[in-house]
């Protein structure tokens, strides 16, 4: 039974919990909301890819659609590539659109990587869209996106 859906942090919700029971829960922000974004996601992507065309395809981004705690979210990025000296992935970058800062990670790979695959754990300050972009050795850029809904724990330490 979802009695209150705290999509936004730093709000005090009064949650009714069953008959005759009442819980008041303080909700705190996962990341400071006051922080202003240093750069837009579009600007950060342009800083990565320059003026090159970015097309969909070849890159895959796995992340859980429903996130219980945005402090550590496992993501995996893979790119379809033979990873040969002639045809490989040079860089993979991941961007967010709701954290205080748009960059998540930028990885540098090459034929010695064998496969174009990486897994890491990232922070998501809020429900948002994640974008992954790969640069292949022919200078082309490939992208994909995935959305994550970040729910908040009811009883945060405060």
């Amino acid at each position: 039974m979802i009695l209150d859906e705290p999509h936004r942090p730093s709000r005090r919700g009064v949650l009714a919990l069953g008959t005759g029971t009442l819980a008041v829960v303080a909700l705190r922000p996962v990341a400071a909301e006051a922080a202003t974004r240093t750069e837009s996601t579009a600007e950060a992507i342009r800083r990565f890819a320059g003026d090159a065309e970015i097309r969909p395809g070849r890159i895959h981004l796995d992340l859980p659609p429903l996130v219980e705690n945005g402090n550590a979210v496992t993501i995996t990025v893979t790119v379809d590539s033979p990873m040969s000296p002639e045809d490989h992935v040079r860089r993979i970058a991941v961007f967010n659109d709701r954290n205080p800062q748009p960059n998540v990670i930028t990885a540098h790979l090459g034929p010695l990587s064998g496969r174009a695959a990486l897994t890491t754990r990232i922070r998501l300050a809020d429900t948002q869209r994640i974008t992954a972009i790969a640069e292949t050795s022919d200078g082309r850029y490939w992208s994909t996106t995935a959305d994550a809904i970040v729910t908040l724990a009811a009883c945060l330490e405060g």
């Binding site: 990341a31 400071a32 922080a35 402090n71 550590a72 979210v73 496992t74 990873m83 967010n96 954290n99 205080p100 800062q101 960059n103 998540v104 990670i105 930028t106 990885a107 540098h108 790979l109 090459g110 034929p111 010695l112 990587s113 064998g114 496969r115 695959a117 990486l118 897994t119 890491t120 754990r121 990232i122 922070r123």
Partner: protein, 106 residues
């Protein structure tokens, strides 16, 4: 010294692609959070991770405040010869740590 957990296959066949997993203890303080006194705590993150195979860079990653505390990173490399893998983390406030492991190719 930060604690690290590095998982490298003990042996690999020549030409096989192996997965390397790394974990290092670090708060990855974002620089966006207020501390107990209400003031924003200074950023303190790992900014760069490099894996070298007998001295040659095979994987590198630039990290940002969006990396979770105690950074976890897995990647792959093609095992070509028995050699030394070096793992180098660098970051704010002069953070620098290097760990090594041997990859034995059969």
């Amino acid at each position: 010294m930060a604690r690290t957990l590095i998982n490298v296959p003990k042996t690999a066949e020549a030409g096989a692609v192996v997965t390397i997993k790394t974990l290092i203890s670090h708060p990855m303080e974002t620089g966006f959070r207020p501390g107990a006194d209400g003031r924003i705590m200074a950023r303190d993150i790992i900014t760069d991770f490099t894996c070298l195979y007998d001295g040659e860079t095979v994987f590198r990653a630039e990290l940002f405040p969006a990396t979770a505390a105690n950074p976890y990173l897995t990647f792959t490399l093609r095992a070509t010869r028995t050699g030394t893998l070096s793992f180098v983390w660098r970051g704010d406030n002069g953070f620098a740590q290097t760990e090594t492991a041997t990859l034995t190719v059969t």
